[in-house]
């Protein structure tokens, strides 16, 4: 099916290595686009295209997983920045309501902890997801997010404290 395992414009990457982390990358892409499967798949295709044409070049400075997560993160960021600016433009001229309903199926928001995570600021939410759920170190997570390790630590610390406080409050009021 695949002609060569090693990518022509990215000799440090093999298809089999990408296949090994495929589901993890999909999970990350999914959380980048509000759990919309179609958008996540498109995002993954885009990320693979970037690897194929060598625009995103892996040079073994980090793990492949960290690198591909970073590519997905950057693509998602630029994609939604573009979409947001278009939406602002449309709203300005069409007088659309600020809230646009979408058909995206949200995960179980009744889940207390997940709801608390969702309430965190974006950067804090990202680092919690990367460290807790994607099994990355704070250094790797910072690399994916494109922030310094110090900033990553601050986000992580604040997120942890916010989550602990929120859950503590809930447990106490529940008892």
């Amino acid at each position: 099916m695949r002609d060569r395992d090693v990518l022509e414009n990215n000799p440090q990457i093999t298809c089999s290595a990408l296949e090994a982390i495929h589901s993890q990358v999909f999970g990350w892409a999914l959380s980048r686009c509000n759990f919309d499967h179609a958008v996540a798949e498109d995002l993954m295709q885009q990320a693979y295209v970037e690897l194929l044409n060598g625009n995103a070049r892996f040079d073994n400075k980090s793990s492949l997983k960290t690198f591909v997560f970073g590519v997905v993160q950057n693509l998602a960021r630029s994609r939604f920045r573009r979409l947001a600016s278009r939406l602002r433009l449309v709203r300005r001229y069409e007088h659309m309501p600020a809230e646009v309903s979408d058909d995206v199926t949200e995960p179980d928001t009744n889940n207390l902890i997940w709801a608390a995570v969702r309430r965190l600021p974006a950067r804090q939410r990202d680092i919690v997801e990367l460290v807790f759920c994607r099994e990355m170190t704070i250094e790797e997570a910072s690399l994916v997010m494109g922030v310094s390790v110090g900033t990553g630590r601050v986000h992580y610390d604040r997120a942890k404290k916010a989550l602990q406080a929120h859950l503590q409050h809930h447990w106490e009021s529940g008892q």
């Binding site: 695949r2 298809c15 999909f26 798949e41 993954m44 295709q45 693979y48 902890i113 759920c133 859950l167």
Partner: protein, 118 residues
């Protein structure tokens, strides 16, 4: 990680929605390869069109130059002639000098004009 942190980690990991229904790698990869090939084809056609346009400009320019009545200075012709007309009336004003009619008068003139020789 402290105990609290470990508990929090476990709780968040448990609560986090699993990435179910990941599309098969081969499907995504083939689609990505298709997009990559299509973009390369597009760039190749743009590059070919640009090269063709460049060749057309060069050929057209060359033909226009040949059609123009181009004249260059020829030393032998100049030495034999007593008059000279500038080859281009685009960059230079049209000017005709007759060595026997115009210049000798100026050179041999001894008439003062305003205190200076002409």
């Amino acid at each position: 990680m402290t105990k609290n942190e470990t508990e929090l980690n476990e709780a968040v990991t448990e609560a986090f929605p699993a990435a179910e229904g990941a599309p098969p790698f081969d499907r995504v990869w083939q689609a990505a390869e298709g997009r990559y090939r299509a973009s390369r084809r597009r760039y190749r056609s743009i590059a070919a069109a640009a090269a063709l346009a460049a060749v057309a400009v060069v050929v057209l320019n060359h033909q226009v130059l040949r059609q123009d009545d181009m004249r260059f200075l020829e030393v032998a012709e100049l030495l034999e002639a007593t008059s000279w007309v500038s080859p281009s009336d685009v960059l230079l004003p049209e000017r005709q000098i007759d060595l026997y009619e115009d210049l000798p008068v100026l050179i041999e003139s001894t008439e003062p004009a305003g205190g200076a020789l002409l």
